[in-house]
Amino acid sequence: MSSKIKEYPGTGLRESDFREKKVLFTEWKPNARYAWDAGIAIGRYLAELKEGRILGVRCRQCRRTVVPPRLFCEWCFRPMDEWVHLQDHGVVNTFSLCYVRWDMERIAEPLIPAVIEIAGASPGIGIMHLLGEVDPQKVEMGMKVQAVWKPAAERVGAITDIRYFRPMKS
């Protein structure tokens, strides 16, 4: 703000003004529903998850094997060349111990989201998932983790067919 200007517009309200309805407002609750097509590449990814396998895809030009799979290489801008079955384990690239939900409500036991580099994909190529069956304070980067699958009969073709990843037993 310029030192030449002495008056600043903008009226701050307190949370209590709102809660106690000291100010006027209108409320609305949208009922928004969507059905998203999985698409060609992710459709196949989901179908393979249902079978208990993680699918990647390879570009022969840049020689990357990536996951989640995609129909085209965004680097080379050409169709991908081959589907590749990856391992259902990998290493923790990074993680967080999250004590809040999406609506900022607090939770006592942290969720542990992580980026997991999947074995069989190119170095540094990972997916986002959750870690489980682990002491939150003992999670570290570089830790080897293994997918914990839902039983075959419960799998529906979704990323949640993997419940979470847990530390690998050596």
Partner: protein, 390 residues
């Protein structure tokens, strides 16, 4: 070069508040009118309007850009809304720049408005939809996840401690004590306060983050012939740059924002800057989280990789240091109304370079400054360089 010189000739902003009584349209009007008044222009002088605002989901108003037009001074004028997530606040003046640089307009009003408080119970709900609907959203993510994942990766890569990073929050919240529009100023805050604040998503704690905010900022951009008529102190836009990385964010190493480097290199080349650390006198990198200021200083080539925390600890980035960083107080101190927060940084450079920043004025008569914003899925860098003289 194939473009005309463009100057910033006026600026205005509202207070940044947690919840404003004003509507978005009213906030936009207040900032835009102040910007025009500051350079004694009227709406008749404005050829077109470039507006920046974050997702419609915050406001629950579809086509929010169109809704805001009347308050943004766009009645019966060429109007353009641009949006690249948190990067919008520096992206919008870039749109304004090429409207004038191209010769299409002589005067372009740039308005950034954000009213995040409308979304209940918390705008986090609106942020959910940035994650991939099939491969990520079923895991129940929230926006803090990606910041925490990136921050942790950055810390691990360089062996940083939370206390190294908390210094940024302390610096910016203290700087904001001199900003009359600031929401989060605290002249007495200490590193201990940050380290003892609630853990939200480790390593992110409450005082590492700037919360949701309402507010608006506006700039007036003008061609050289207009600028020289309306002011003795035009502040020139010397360079602009922007770059977007892949949305496959789990396929990139988050420790370094390569896309910010690309954006910065584009802007430095345009501005003829070869040695940014000597030639940039003030930096306003995007700081929605304290580690982001450090991450961005490195991406902007203003610090060696992993060295930004040391510069902070040594006071180099203090308002009186050799390279003042976020002398405004930044998002951590002034507040974080997404698009408006980015444009606030550009406005701060305008006031600093004209010597009008009052108690926030950095010493040494700076002549060149850089502002940067960032956003989407750890994905976009937007950079603008302003300078006086030349």
């Amino acid at each position: 070069m194939g473009w005309r010189k463009v100057a910033v000739v006026g600026a205005g902003m509202t207070k940044f508040v947690r919840r404003a009584q004003e509507t978005g349209k009213e906030l936009a009007f207040e900032a835009a009118k102040m910007a025009l008044d500051s350079c004694e222009l009227t709406l008749d002088d404005v050829d077109g309007v470039a507006l920046g605002s974050a997702p419609d989901a915050f406001d629950g108003v579809h086509m929010k850009g169109e809704y805001l037009t009347d308050g943004a001074g766009a009645w019966r004028k060429p109007f353009m809304r641009s949006y690249v997530g948190g990067g919008t606040g520096v992206f919008a003046p870039i749109q304004g720049w090429y409207h004038v640089a191209s010769g299409l307009f002589d005067v372009c009003l740039v308005v950034c408005e954000e009213k995040m408080s409308s979304c209940q119970p918390h705008p986090q709900g609106a942020f959910l939809t940035i994650f991939d609907h099939t491969t990520e959203r079923p895991l129940g993510p929230n926006l803090l996840w990606i910041f925490a994942l990136e921050m942790n990766r950055y810390m691990q890569r360089y062996g940083l401690q939370k206390k190294d990073i908390a210094l940024v929050s302390v610096k910016n919240k203290r700087n904001a004590a001199d900003h009359p529009c600031a929401l989060l100023a605290d002249p007495n805050i200490t590193v201990e306060d940050v380290l003892q604040s609630e853990v939200l998503a480790w390593p992110v704690q409450r005082l590492d983050v700037s919360p949701v905010t309402d507010g608006a900022v506006a700039l007036v951009l003008a061609s050289e012939n207009v600028a020289k008529r309306v002011t003795d102190k035009p502040v020139w836009i010397k360079g602009v740059g922007w770059s977007l990385d892949s949305a496959y964010w789990t396929n990139r190493d988050l420790y370094y924002p390569k896309y910010v480097e690309y954006a910065a290199r584009m802007a430095y080349e345009m501005a003829g800057i070869r040695e940014p650390r000597k030639e940039i006198h003030i930096a306003e990198p995007y700081d929605p989280f304290d580690y982001k200021e450090l991450h961005h200083l490195e991406g902007l080539l203003l610090a060696d990789k992993g060295e930004a925390p040391r510069l902070t600890a040594e006071g180099v980035t203090a308002r009186t240091g050799n390279m003042p960083v976020c002398p405004s107080g930044g998002l951590l101190g002034v507040g974080n109304p997404i698009a408006a927060a980015g444009l606030m940084k550009v406005a701060e450079l305008f006031w600093q370079l004209r010597g009008e920043a009052g108690k926030r004025q950095v010493p040494g008569k700076p002549i060149t400054g850089l502002a940067q914003a960032w956003g989407d899925l750890m994905q976009v860098g937007t950079v603008i360089i302003l300078g006086i003289g030349g």
